[in-house]
Symmetry: C2
DNA sequence: CGCTAGCTTGAAACCGGTCAACTTTTGTGG
DNA sequence: CCACAAAAGTTGACCGGTTTCAAGCTAGCG
């Protein structure tokens, strides 16, 4: 079973400048800004381990695996999900580059869900005990961890509300867009790296409903979808639809 | 506007034994176990501020209020919720004695939702900057904070899945039961401190549906409800129903 | 080429929501 | 303590958004 353990990335060496160790990691920027001295930053650097690539369909961790590390997505998309007794899949989230997986495993010391690569995925792995220990010496890092955890509570709360299919779908598209934009990608044209079924299981819909909502949104000129490619053509209207879901974001 | 700020509890003095400052607070036990010396425990103690009582219907904080503190419920029940554009209320959670509110406010430095007392509520308030600072000197406390945050991600994820009314209701009752049991109350007989409408808005149902599910559960012998009093009569069956929701708990 | 997984579309069924009427409880003031 | 009003809860009938079922389509790939 593959997991977030030892598997160095071929071709990505850790030997370079210690202060550019991982441009996409959620920790680097925050900690660089905090003006720590070189020795502490070096401590952070030696914690990082680049692992992957995981290819499409490969599991990064599975429900019940012992928790040892959190990981920032460096490239690709990760889906987390659980499967219930009836075999229905419940998608908990999609993680894009720069986002951190595994935070919900801390409380149980086990991963409570499965994580699978939706395309080619490379991760930055952080041993949790080590980064927690370092955080006691770097208040900025501790603060960053608190923030990330708190953020995930908010994320999980978002779609738990009582919203219509249209509202949830609009919110899904808008948040995807914002997250891509935050990473320097186009906010209005991007690739859906997940299947319709994945989207459905995330939004608590049937995949047929996802198809139909896409079609209706397209007929109404709000989006243009062609297979996995999507273009947001009327952001304003989408934001309006998503408004109820996204308030407090 | 009332908020989690200065309002000492009349009759509850902070002058007593520093190591029994708050029997219900989520931090005390963990930190006592960690074997810290007296001076650090005293630091933790002076952070605690008992506030309240808030009486039924009174707000503890409101959406958008600047975040300064987290708080452990000492007695009573707190409901957190947001209201959307159409005036629909979305209940995010109920907090029983021993549970901590405000953790989802860290990332934004503002409370993302409203918190209201469902009955008479007393809180232990912890200034967040102070407790975070202290956590750098008490790794056990830091760990406890990480755990609490991580736990809340899991809680928020639970009901976000695609479950039937029956499954969600059963899960709601079972978790309530477990939480009361963990605090030394009866797991099979307790008071629903929230209205049917609150339950409905939490479970994404109509209040009429809550009524009907209660009635059906009762007709099937799983529970006995009389107004706000409830008794779980067939725990096993409820657990079975809740199973899908609660896996990974 | 043909297979398969993913996707789309239509028709019918159903779960839960909405609307409305009514009952019960709670709270208030005389 | 009672009268009354307001809030909470219950129940029934109907409606509608989503799901389910079924069929067919499309793209990607061996």
């Amino acid at each position: 079973m593959s997991d977030v353990s030892r598997r160095p990335v071929p071709g990505i060496a850790d030997d370079g400048d210690a202060f550019h160790f991982c441009s996409t990691c959620a920790f680097s920027a925050a900690c660089l800004e905090s003006g720590y001295d070189k020795s502490l930053l070096r401590d952070l650097h030696v914690l990082v381990e680049h692992i992957g690539p995981f290819h499409e369909g490969e599991h990064i961790f599975r429900e019940g695996d012992p928790f040892t590390a959190i990981a920032a997505v460096r490239s690709g998309t990760v889906k987390t999900y659980v499967t219930d007794h009836e075999g229905r899949e419940h998608v908990q989230g999609f993680f894009l580059p720069g986002e951190v997986i595994g935070l919900n495993a801390i409380s149980q010391a086990r991963y409570p869900s499965n994580a699978i690569a939706l395309d080619s995925v490379v991760l930055c792995r952080f041993s949790f005990p080590n980064i927690a220990a370092l955080a006691t010496r770097m208040p900025g890092l501790q603060q960053q961890l608190f923030k990330l955890l708190s953020l995930d509570i908010g994320k999980a709360t978002l779609l738990s509300g009582n919203f219509s299919a249209d509202e949830r779908m609009a919110a899904f598209l808008i948040t995807l867009s914002r997250r891509y934009a935050a990473r320097g990608f186009s906010p209005n044209r991007f690739l859906l790296t997940m299947t319709r079924t994945d989207i459905a299981n995330y939004l608590r819909l049937a995949s047929e409903t996802v198809s139909r909502v896409f079609r209706r949104f397209q007929d109404e000129g709000m989006i243009q979808v062609e297979r996995r490619e999507i273009e947001l053509k009327d952001r304003k209207q989408l934001e309006t639809l998503a408004e109820n879901v996204l308030r407090s974001t």
